[in-house]
């Protein structure tokens, strides 16, 4: 076996690669934020303890947590338009799928974080005369967020990796661009190695930052 590694040809595709990286990063940021917001709303609604609300939400969470994102992308792009009668652009379908998938995990992380706060903290806030929203904002969430940071970062990392599935809908993320370059050059080893390196360059600082934050907040 001797294979001549040669990455130099990739330079001529730098435009495509840059667009791919932007799509990957952009989709990660947008769907992580949207997923966090939706997940947060679900988590707060689930804490309400009304079964009419919690059972459908639990069903939603479990369906999205326990099925492949790839299938969810296909459902939302191909099946949802048939059900609701609206044509979706691939990017829109991808946004919806990744947001909801992320939300199902974020919801559990947030709910777990809130539930992990000692009931004595609620007692103390109530005893002072704090109302529910103030108690949540001033006492519970600041403590819960600290505990949520490691799993939240973890989920964002997975969220970024999941954007590679966007290529099935021909959304030009890094992996999709890689496939294009591969089909033009027949050099999959170099192309996919480069993609892995770019993922690593994006994610490693993020996980390092998370470790640092965790240490600092552990106090």
């Amino acid at each position: 076996m001797n294979y001549e590694w040669d990455f130099s040809f990739l330079l001529q595709y730098k435009g495509l690669i840059a667009i791919g990286a932007l799509y990957t990063i952009g989709f990660t940021i947008v769907t992580a934020i949207a997923g966090f917001v939706v997940g947060g709303l679900i988590a707060v609604a689930r804490l309400a303890n009304a079964r009419v609300v919690t059972i459908p939400l639990l069903a939603f969470i479990e369906i999205f947590r326990c099925t492949p994102v790839l299938v969810q992308l296909v459902w939302i792009y191909y099946a949802l338009p048939i059900v609701i009668g609206v044509e979706l652009k691939p990017a829109t379908a991808a946004f919806i799928a990744l947001t909801l998938y992320g939300a199902s995990f974020f919801a559990e992380i947030i709910r777990g974080g809130i539930a992990s706060i000692d009931t004595g903290q609620w007692d103390a806030g109530r005893a002072l005369g704090m109302r529910r929203a103030a108690l949540m904002r001033r006492v519970v969430l600041p403590q819960a967020l600290k505990r949520m940071i490691p799993p939240l970062v973890n989920q964002v990392v997975l969220q970024l990796k999941n954007t590679s599935l966007l290529s099935v809908l021909a959304v030009p993320d890094l992996l999709y661009q890689g496939q294009l370059i591969t089909s033009a050059t027949y050099k999959p080893l170099e192309v996919y190695t480069m993609i892995a390196i770019i993922y690593f360059i994006i994610l490693f600082p993020l996980t390092t930052l998370a470790h640092g934050l965790e240490r600092r907040l552990a106090r």
Binding site: D118, G120, Q121, D123, A124, R126, A127, L128, G129, M130, R131, R132, A134, R138, V139, P142, Q143, K146, R219
Partner: protein
């Protein structure tokens, strides 16, 4: 809503509990409890664990909602039962803001410095300005002997110090009544005294208080009235010294005999 005049009661009654019942699911915990505390009075609640004394205390500031009965603190009254709707969050909060509570496990806010803990009620609940609240908080920390700890975080304090901060935090709301739920039970023996001294000082200043405690000597010396509970009933009630030194009921005698062996 349930705020209404309860029935003519002497001006000086600060806490009135009437026919309060509480069950957790099928388990009755309080069975028709009535008692009252005059303004400036100190009542100690004693009894074996599971007797319902902590539940009764938590009913006084509605951290636990009674199934039936009336709770009155000062001019606020709430009535509970089949014919009354669950009070709203806002009404509960208003009621609780007039009652200070100190917990066995302190329950300080660990993410806030000591002075912020004390400022939290005035700022968030009463809408006080930060400067005003800080002055109030520093004054109260001075009162409990912890002025120099104002900027420390709770995890740097001993149990006795934490509990004194918790007392300052409750006092910052200028409550009409203070409730102590086994405030010294989680403390090392050598730290109990510093907390009891603060409570004793409050009593001498005329604060109306209810103390759930296992410190029998303290229940006798600081309280005017002592109530002995067992199995969700008030078994015996009377002047603190009399109930503890010369109990009339067999159950009270049996309970107190565990303590007389130790130094009371």
């Amino acid at each position: 809503m349930t705020t209404q005049a309860v029935r003519a009661m002497p001006e000086t009654t600060m806490i009135a509990v009437e026919h309060v019942r509480k069950a957790f699911g099928p388990v009755p915990v309080l069975k028709d409890i009535s008692l009252s505390v005059p303004k400036g009075g100190v009542l100690s609640l004693i009894g074996p664990s599971g007797s319902g004394k902590s539940t009764l205390l938590r009913c006084l500031n509605l951290l636990t909602i009674p199934c039936e009965g009336t709770i009155r603190i000062g001019s606020h009254a709430m009535r509970f039962g089949r014919d009354h709707r669950m009070p709203r969050d806002r009404d509960l909060a208003a009621f609780r803001s007039t009652v200070g509570m100190v917990f066995q496990n302190f329950n300080l806010f660990p993410h806030m410095s000591v002075v912020r803990n004390v400022m939290e009620g005035p700022v968030t609940v009463l809408g006080q300005g930060r400067d005003e609240a800080r002055d109030l908080a520093v004054g109260l920390l001075d009162k409990v002997g912890l002025r120099e700890k104002a900027d420390a975080y709770p995890d740097r304090l001993s149990g006795g110090q934490k509990q004194r901060v918790a007392i300052a935090r409750a006092l910052a709301m200028k409550p009409e009544v203070m409730l102590f739920d086994e405030a010294t039970s989680a403390l090392d023996p050598e730290l109990v005294g510093e907390v009891l001294n603060v409570v004793r000082q409050l009593a001498s200043e005329g604060m109306t208080m209810v103390l759930v405690t296992h410190e029998i000597a303290f229940a006798r010396d600081v309280a005017d009235t002592c109530v002995f509970m067992r199995d969700g009933f008030v078994v015996e009630e009377g002047p603190a010294r009399q109930v503890i030194e010369d109990p009339q009921q067999a159950a009270t005698k049996a309970f107190l005999s565990h303590f007389h062996k130790a130094a009371v």
